[in-house]
Each structure stands twice: as C-alpha cells, then as structure tokens.
C-alpha cells in the first residue's frame, strides 16, 4: 500500500469518526429536546414540584441548581486557582510535589457516589448540619477541586516563559508577575476549565443525594433574608437540584406524570448548561479583550 492510499484511508477514517460523534450528539439533543420541550412552559418553570399530584413544576429545583453552582464555584475556583499557582510556580520539583500531584489525580478519579458518602460523613453528620446547600456545595468542591487545580496548573505552565522573564527583569516581584502577567495570559484556559467543572456541577446527582438531600422546604422568593428558613438564599436548608429531581421522580416518584416531568426537567437541564456555557464564554472573552487591548 503506498502512502497516498494510506493518507486517503486515514482521512476517511477520521471523517467517519467525526460524523459518528456529531450524530450521537445531535441524536441525543434531538431526543431530549423533542421529548422534553413540549412539557416545558412558563408554568412548569415557575410552579413548585408536587409529590403526589400531576402538573408539578421545577421552580425550586432550577433555582437550587444555579444556587449550588454559584456557591460551589465561589469556594472551588479561588481554591483551585490557588492550588494551580502553587503547583506551577512555587512547588519545588521533587518527591513531595509528586505525591501532591498523585493525590490530586486520585481525587479527580474518585467516583462521585463515594464523594457523596464522604460528604454525608463530613458535612452532614460530623458538622451536625443535616442536609444543606452548603454541604452539597462542599461535596461538589471536593469533586471539582482537582480538575480546577490541574487545569490552572497547565494553563499557568503554558504561559510563555519569556513573558515571565520580561516582568521579573523589570524588577517586578514574583507575586506581582503572577497577578499582572501570568494569570491574565492563563485566563482563557482557566475559564474553560471552570466552565467544564460547572457542567459537572449541573449534571451531578450522586454526590448531592446524601449531602444536599432530596427535598426542598416551602420557599418564599420574596424573603431575601439568608438566615430565614423559608428564604431561598438560606445555605443551611436542604435543596433538591434538577439532576437529583430527575433521578428521584424516576426511581421513587408517586406522581402520575413522571415521564412528562422528567423529560421536561431534562430538557431544561440541557438548555441551562448550554446557555450557561455560552454566557460564561461570552463574558470571558469580553474580559480577555479588555485586558489584552484587542478589539
């Protein structure tokens, strides 16, 4: 076989693989959206769920998903970037650093249900909080931290060395160099990592089952006092997220319209992830353009 034929075959193989991937994705989206969107209405999005009657909505679950995401990111992103900076800039190459890196990798590969059990022990029982949003967010932080550390480390390492040299040679301290040269250059990759992690938070159910719980108290959206039991902002209340809701109505739902609710919720979940992705990328590119002065 001459190399031209081999080249044509390789091209064909890769195009086929691309087509397979795209058709799986399109098929999946089509199935979820076609089956789900017909059950999605303003009423579905704005009414609370019901345990027994048909016609319940997903208002609280949708809010809980975004709220847990926000809280998780508030904890995980600063910690993760800090860890990445340490690994890329401060850690001396050697045994200790290798051990830290192995630990991060092991943590990244832990099954989420195991993290859920750990969260139950730590953030539910040991602290005595019971099922809480904060507990759920902390469990998801454990779940996402390794990914963000890893992504930040790689992003910081891939900043060209001569930029760092240029800054240090101007008599700028290491921390100022990291803050004003390295992090802005690494920003797009770190943002991508954070967005991927957010997708995992949205879709995660197993780690939340035993930490944020399967129920949501009656919420009053006019109550903005975060210490009140009926306030949606209270971080010490149980909270069922969208992904957990889909799982629970399917496995133990008593409502007659299980299929409608779970299909509708799935469609909303997929669209939420999509919109969140696009929005985060758009805002990220605005920030990046502002820093780098490109129009």
């Amino acid at each position: 076989m001459n190399s031209k034929t081999a080249d044509r075959i390789a091209t064909g193989v890769f195009i086929t693989i691309a087509i397979i991937i795209i058709s799986i994705l399109v098929g999946l989206f089509y199935y979820i959206l076609v089956n789900g969107l017909k059950h999605v209405s303003l009423d579905f999005l704005t009414s609370p769920s019901s345990n027994v009657r048909a016609g319940g909505g997903i208002r609280d679950q949708l809010f809980n998903s975004f709220y847990i995401l926000l809280l998780t990111m508030l904890i995980a992103v600063p910690l993760g970037i800090g860890g990445g900076i340490y690994m890329a800039e401060y850690a001396k190459p050697g045994k200790v650093t290798d051990i830290i890196r192995s630990c991060i990798e092991v943590l990244a590969s832990l099954p989420s249900i195991v993290i859920g059990m750990f969260g139950l022990l730590m953030f539910v029982n040991l602290t005595g909080w019971g099922y809480t949003i904060l507990g759920g967010a902390l469990a998801l932080t454990v779940f996402n931290l390794p990914v963000i550390v890893r992504v930040s480390e790689d992003a910081i390492r891939s900043v060209p060395r001569d930029l760092k040299e240029a800054s240090l040679a101007l008599g700028i301290t290491r921390w100022h160099t990291i803050k004003t040269v390295i992090l802005p250059s690494a920003f797009p990759s770190i943002l991508t990592g954070a967005i991927l992690a957010s997708g995992r938070v949205f879709g995660e159910a197993a780690a939340l089952l035993f930490t944020a719980g399967l129920s949501t108290p009656r919420l009053d959206y006019a109550n903005w006092n975060p210490f009140s039991d009926t306030s949606p902002l209270n971080i010490f209340r149980p909270a069922e997220t969208l992904a957990v809701h889909i799982w629970s109505v399917n496995t133990q739902g008593l409502i007659p319209d299980v299929e409608e609710v779970s299909n509708g919720a799935a469609a909303v979940l997929v669209l939420s992830v999509l919109i969140f992705n696009l929005l985060a990328r758009w805002i990220g590119s605005m920030i990046h353009k502002k820093i780098t002065a490109t129009k």
């Binding site: 040299e165 040679a169 101007l170 100022h176 802005p184 780098t292």
Partner: protein, 257 residues
C-alpha cells in the same frame, strides 16, 4: 550606592565562577564594566556569553541548580554576597531579550507596567514616562496614534524597540541586551544599532552579540569569551585590528566559531 558615583566602573566582576550542576560554565572571570560605555561580548555558541550577561541582573537565578562563587560588584556592592534586593537591582539594571517579548496588553500598558508597579500612580506622570520612553527609542512617531492598540500587533522590530522602551521606563543605569537583533531583519537591526549609539549618552550598555560587525559598529569595549573563559577584553578597535591572543584573532578572522 554612593561609592559608585566616584569611580568609572559601574560593574566590577572579580573571579566569577559559575556551575550548572557539574558543568563549569564560567571560569574565573574578571571583568570591569565602565559607565556610559557600550561593552560588546562576542564568542562562539556555548562560550558562556549569555550566561555571563544574565549574572549581572541575577536573572541566572531562574535556572535551577546554578552555583556561583566570586564577586559581582555593582556600584561597589557585591550582589552575590550581601543580602541584595533583587527588585532594587533589576530596577537599576534593565534587560532586553533575544526576541521581542511584549506583554499581551496595549502599547501604553506595556511601558507603564514597570513604573506603575514601582509606585507611579498619577496619570500625568505615567503619560510623560510613556511618551519619553517611546521617544527615546524612536518609536513615538510610529505609534502615537495607537497607544491603546495591542502591542502584539507591532512588527518584530517595533516590538523589540518597545521592549527597550519598557526597560528604559523604570529609569535604569545599565541596560543589558542579550542578542537583541538576532531575530530581526537588517533594517530593524540597523535601527536598533543607531539607537544603541544614542542611548550610550545616558546609559551603560552591555550587549551580547554573535554578529562581529555589530560589535565593531556599536561598542567601545569588546570582550571575547571562549569555553567559559574571558580570553580578551580591550577597546573595540584593538580587538578587531590588533588582538593580543591568537584565539581572538582566529575567531574574528573567521577561522572557527
């Protein structure tokens, strides 16, 4: 720092040895560098000339496993022995690298970067520094209408001149240049060389170059390095017309290197 103003030497290097791990890269270098002169360092690849210039602002410390002995006296202060403030040293000893390496920011921010962090806050002062630095490197007329455009949009030669302006903005005494024209075309190279001749009125310049014509055109003193040793250091005219060492002669007449 007051002692330095009395002597002609801004740097006085005595018996400097440097090892990368086991590799002895600089061997007992003695090297005075005079104020407001251009000193060129020439030599074949791997002779230690880049290593040497990086010791002067201690950028060499970024390389792991470096060991140094001897003295590097900067204005009478040994930067190897005493607890030297790296930030302070590098404010006085600026550096320009092989390839133009502007930050991915605007032209203005690139130059204002150093002064801003070193404490210049008022916009009027920053504007003045930016204008003056750009004028010093003859870039002002080319970029004055687009100071807030990205620096990476400039040509290679302009980027290198911007980097020189950025180094000048922190008001150094000494400017180190590590093969500053090796990535540039002949016209940009010529502009940088003209610039060096103008800058030596105000600054002490040390330039590493692999281009012997460049050394002879811009420098007052020339040093020839070979395999980690300083073979010869003399006025540029002597080195190029009447070198004392046969190895120097061999190198500049193109017999090796």
């Amino acid at each position: 720092m007051s002692i330095g103003t009395l002597t002609r030497e801004v740097f006085d290097i005595k018996d400097l040895n440097l090892w990368y791990g086991e590799h002895h890269a600089l061997k007992s270098i003695n090297f005075p560098i005079n104020k407001k002169e251009v000193t060129a360092i020439i030599g074949p690849s791997g002779c230690g000339k880049s290593t040497f210039i990086k010791t002067l602002n201690l950028m060499i410390n970024m390389v792991p496993n470096v060991k140094m002995t001897g003295e590097i006296n900067f204005n009478g202060q040994n930067v190897l022995n005493e607890k030297i403030d790296l930030v302070d040293l590098r404010k006085h000893v600026g550096m320009v690298f092989q390839k133009g390496n502007p930050f991915p920011q605007s032209i203005y921010d690139n130059i204002a970067y150093g002064p801003r962090i070193h404490g210049v806050k008022r916009k009027k002062d920053l504007d003045e520094i930016v204008t003056k630095s750009l004028m010093d490197v003859a870039l002002w007329d080319e970029v004055k209408d687009r100071l807030h455009a990205p620096a990476l949009g400039l040509s290679g030669g302009q980027q290198q001149r911007l980097c020189i302006a950025r180094a000048l903005a922190t008001k150094p005494d000494v400017l180190l240049m590590d093969e500053p024209t090796s990535a540039l075309d002949p016209i940009s190279t010529l502009k940088i060389e003209e610039l060096i001749l103008e800058l030596k009125e105000k600054y002490t310049i040390v330039i590493v170059t692999h281009n012997m014509q460049q050394a002879s055109r811009v420098s007052d003193k020339t040093a020839f390095f070979l395999m980690g040793e300083l073979i010869e250091l003399d006025s540029t005219s002597t080195i190029f017309s009447n070198p004392k060492d046969s190895r120097t002669e061999g190198y500049i007449t193109g017999r090796f290197g």
